[in-house]
């Protein structure tokens, strides 16, 4: 008995040693294997329904274009519309009077001539501006003092929208993009305060969200004989007869969201646009990003909701009746329930957008990483962390993940590697990587060389793209696809790639979200307009 026990002990030691020495090589944490082992939350049925509002393989014109025209202006969005982009992308900021801007930077120095127009102080014309609205000088001067206390030089939130229309939002582009510069991008007359009123500039403007929607609808700005946009404004009816001090106190009493804003002016956007004679019928959607939650008012999401409603673009209140994303060679996304996609990096904005939109409008959660991690970055970029962010996004009403991609000229961090694209696909969420600037990036992610090589994630990522009459590539038709749509600064290049590689103009595309079903975008235009000729046609 005892000898047997001794033998058992010795045998156990030997077994452990044997197991150790003969086991396979030591395992280590690897995204390649862990991405398949981590549980990923799958989009629920309600969110999946809204996800399907979004066209597959969508071309999203990032800020209209950062390459061909001044970003997020009438010129870049009209160009993107005419080129055939599926979405016009923008970012939203807020002015002092609560107008939702479609503008990327919170600080206007980079994309306007604000430093030439205004000093680093509250515009000296502000008192006269108030007086032009019918307020007394004393009242205006007192409000000027209050404005001074909350003033942040060159930040959009410190200026009335009418004041911002004095700026030229095009000349900077000519100075920084010499090859694409055009005299018509630059205002010939900068705005000013003269004759007892604000006189707008006559070039490209900082856009309001209403402007962007109008361009998507095939309109352009109404301009006067001097090329200045026509946009009247007045004190809102609810504040008529009140002093500025009374208005200030009334707004302040509404709560924290309004504390530093004086949104007592209304603009006549209803009469600011007219059909664009150069419109050829494309009706893209809009793709709107909520930016710095700590700078913009806490009800920014509600303000966007209200603008969408005002423009009849809120599908929650007014669902679209059409479902075809393309009709007769024209983009028709803007007439479907996929007409608006929201996006954000911000935790706060995502959560508040969910409170307002309740997941009923497609929402993209954008991913970024830096060292050290910024407040909204994914800090632990491994499969466990990635899965946690996917879950967070879904729990807050998101349907789309927007990862950064590498490559010149932006050289963003790579967040759409095969394992990451696999996890997004596994979650049932749409993958909209950003931003594409080169043919090489198109190839990489859609997918020939580099990420076109075989990987362990091909079971979900590899798709059979049938050839069309327009397919020119000699590559195999079975390719791993690392996107379901993408942000591009080069709509012309991206469309060309999509057409030549069978992603556009194809009636038998695979639908990765509904295996076995096909996706038909054969009605999309299969001829890409010339980028420069289009600019010329549009008058630039």
């Amino acid at each position: 008995m005892f000898k047997n026990l001794i033998r058992l002990g010795v045998a156990s030691l030997a077994l452990v040693a044997l197991t150790t020495s003969c086991s396979k090589e030591q395992q280590f944490t690897s995204e390649k294997t862990d991405a398949k082992r981590v549980e990923v939350q799958v989009l629920n049925a309600d969110l999946a329904k809204v996800r399907d509002y979004v066209p597959l393989y969508a071309v999203i014109a990032h800020r209209g274009s950062t390459f061909w025209a001044p970003e997020e202006t009438e010129s870049s969005w009209r160009w993107a519309r005419e080129m055939g982009a599926d979405y016009l992308e923008s970012d939203v900021q807020c002015t002092k009077d609560g107008i939702v801007l479609a503008n990327h930077d919170e600080n206007l120095k980079r994309t306007t001539n604000i430093e030439n127009v205004f000093s680093e102080n509250v515009p000296t014309s502000r008192v006269a501006f108030y007086m032009s609205l019918g307020f007394s000088k004393a009242d205006a001067e007192a409000q000027y003092g209050r404005d001074m206390a909350a003033f942040r030089p060159f930040y959009a939130l410190s200026y009335y929208y009418a004041e911002l229309l004095m700026l030229d939002a095009g000349s900077w582009f000519n100075e920084t993009s010499l090859e694409q510069s055009r005299p018509s991008f630059e205002a010939s007359e900068t705005g000013s305060f003269s004759g007892g009123k604000i006189v707008y500039s006559n070039g490209q403007y900082i856009s309001a969200l209403q402007d962007q929607i109008a361009y998507a609808e095939g309109k352009h700005l109404i301009r006067d004989a001097n090329g200045r946009r026509v946009l009247s404004y007045k004190v809102k009816d609810e504040y008529q007869g009140m002093t500025l001090e009374q208005i200030y106190n009334a707004i302040k009493a509404k709560g924290q969201y309004n504390a530093k804003y004086m949104d007592f002016i209304e603009y006549d956007f209803a009469n600011a646009y007219e059909p664009d004679p150069q419109d050829t019928g494309n009706r893209p959607g809009i793709y709107v990003e909520f930016k710095e939650s700590w700078l913009n008012p806490g009800n920014m999401e509600q303000r966007v909701y209200d603008v969408l409603s005002e423009c009849n673009w809120n599908i929650i209140e007014k669902p679209a009746t059409e479902t075809a994303f393309y009709k007769g060679g024209k983009v028709n996304v803007g007439n479907t329930n996929g007409k608006v996609i929201l996006q954000t990096f911000s935790f706060d904005a995502l959560r508040r957008a969910n409170d307002v939109f309740k997941g009923r409008i497609p929402m993209c959660y954008l991913l970024w990483i830096s060292e050290p991690a910024y407040a909204t970055d994914i800090a632990i970029d491994d499969p466990t962390g990635y899965a946690a962010f996917i879950k967070w996004a879904q729990d807050n009403g998101a349907h789309i993940i927007g990862p950064a991609i590498s490559g010149a000229p932006n050289n963003y961090p790579e967040m759409n590697a095969p394992w990451q694209a696999y996890m997004i696909r596994k979650s049932g969420m749409i993958n909209h990587p950003y931003s594409f600037d080169s043919w090489a990036q198109m190839c990489k992610y859609m997918g020939y060389y580099n990420y076109g090589l075989e990987t362990e994630f091909d079971d979900l990522l590899r798709l059979e793209i049938p050839a069309t009459a327009y397919t020119t590539t000699s590559y195999p038709s079975s390719v791993p696809v690392y996107m379901d749509g993408f942000f591009t600064n080069r709509t012309e290049m991206s469309l060309k790639y999509m057409i030549e590689n069978g992603f556009r103009g194809n009636s038998k595309l695979p639908n990765p979200f509904h295996p076995g079903q096909t996706y038909d975008n054969s009605q999309a235009n299969v001829t890409v307009p010339d980028a420069v000729e289009t600019l010329k046609r549009l008058g630039y």
């Binding site: 005892f2 026990l5 001794i6 058992l8 002990g9 010795v10 156990s12 030691l13 452990v16 040693a17 197991t19 150790t20 086991s23 030591q26 395992q27 280590f28 944490t29 862990d34 082992r37 981590v38 549980e39 942040r152 939650s293 700590w294 911000s346 935790f347 706060d348 904005a349 959560r351 991690a373 407040a375 909204t376 994914i378 800090a379 632990i380 970029d381 466990t384 962390g385 990635y386 899965a387 946690a388 962010f389 967070w392 807050n396």
Partner: protein, 445 residues
Amino acid sequence: MKKYIILPALLLFALGAAAQDFDNDPTLQLEKKDAKFTIGARFMADAATYHSDFTPLQSGASISDARIRTSFTYKNWYLYADFGFGGGKFSQKNIFAQWSTVNEKGESHSIKAGYYNDPAGSMARNTSLGSYHFISRPGSSYALGEGRELGVTYKYNSDKFMAYQGVFTENQYNKIKAGFNGVTVAGRYLVRPVYDSNQTLHIGVSGRFAKLGGGEVFKNILKKTYHMGQTLETYVDEDEQFVNADLEWANTVTNLGAELLYHNNRFFIRGEYFYKHVNKSRDTYSLMIDAQDNIDGWGSLEAWENANKLRSNNFHGGYVEAGVILFGNGYRYNKADGLLGGLNGKALELVARYNYTGLNDLTDGEYFNAGRGHYYAAGYMEDWPGTGATSVGGGNLHSATIGLNYSFNKYVQLMVDYTYHKLTSDYYPNDKNFHVGQARVQFTF
């Protein structure tokens, strides 16, 4: 006349048992008049294999301990030092001098100074690993107990009572980046309702209070961080990644413990409970002023404090161990140290242990995201101004071990353990179950 015979015998017992990491007599002993010099050694080699749900551990083999010890006894004095070579690195272990006296009632008084185990560090940590009945001490004794410190202690010991207390510094070298060594007072107190040659029952309590002194300079402020952690009760992969916590701005640490030990010739059972309270403090105002580095600022001290909350933390843990001798020499009790001895001579024993380590101190309503590696006080992620969270997610671990130990003789022993661990950790959401099989061969002389 009789006391001249008894006292030296008692003294020898008191002195000889004081070599805390070894409880057998060294083989090589040199005696000359009143002086005795000994030299000995110990060696442990482990092999381990691990299975985890997700995060891999490194199976393999390791020399977990290699040590040389020396001692010198002269009249009432006992000097001791041992040095480790495990892991291929030289390390200083115990080194101390002890003066002892024993009266005719068998009551001993001893004063000890040097670098050795804190009396309140835990019964398990005070027990030599060479005398332990498992390959590793229980994890809770590492996560919540304490180890060696530099200090001086006084011990009173009799058949019925032991009172062992002293004063220590936080660490032995004063190589801290900033601050000072810190001060610790600690004590362990036992009563022995049963104590005879066949069996012992002891019940004890311990307490320890440490004023932390050392840290680093952070934004021109002394920042002290207190670390707690344990491995998966193994020495082959000693990573503490699954159960650990670093408590920033720690200021004082209070340990309270309770213990029970019973043994007879064929059976032993023992267990401990650990409670640790970590109090924190910081120069809040200076930190807030330092954080006023952008145009937005914090506006008020209250706003900064809400975004950067601070609270004290409480942790619990404990274990129960039992063993039965299947054949061979029975269990021994070391009265001088109030500890159970190791196997002595040819024997085979079966052992079992349950251990719980609780390093999760979570605040109700807080949200954790593994992609951020943060808790958020609001219950969801926020952009700014900060998380405001106070949760500590060091991990809760339940561990169950069974083992078999065979001692060929007083010098050579074989050990085999299997441990199942159940982990609850927000930082490791995919790791729930661990299986650890390990074996050890050790010899001591």
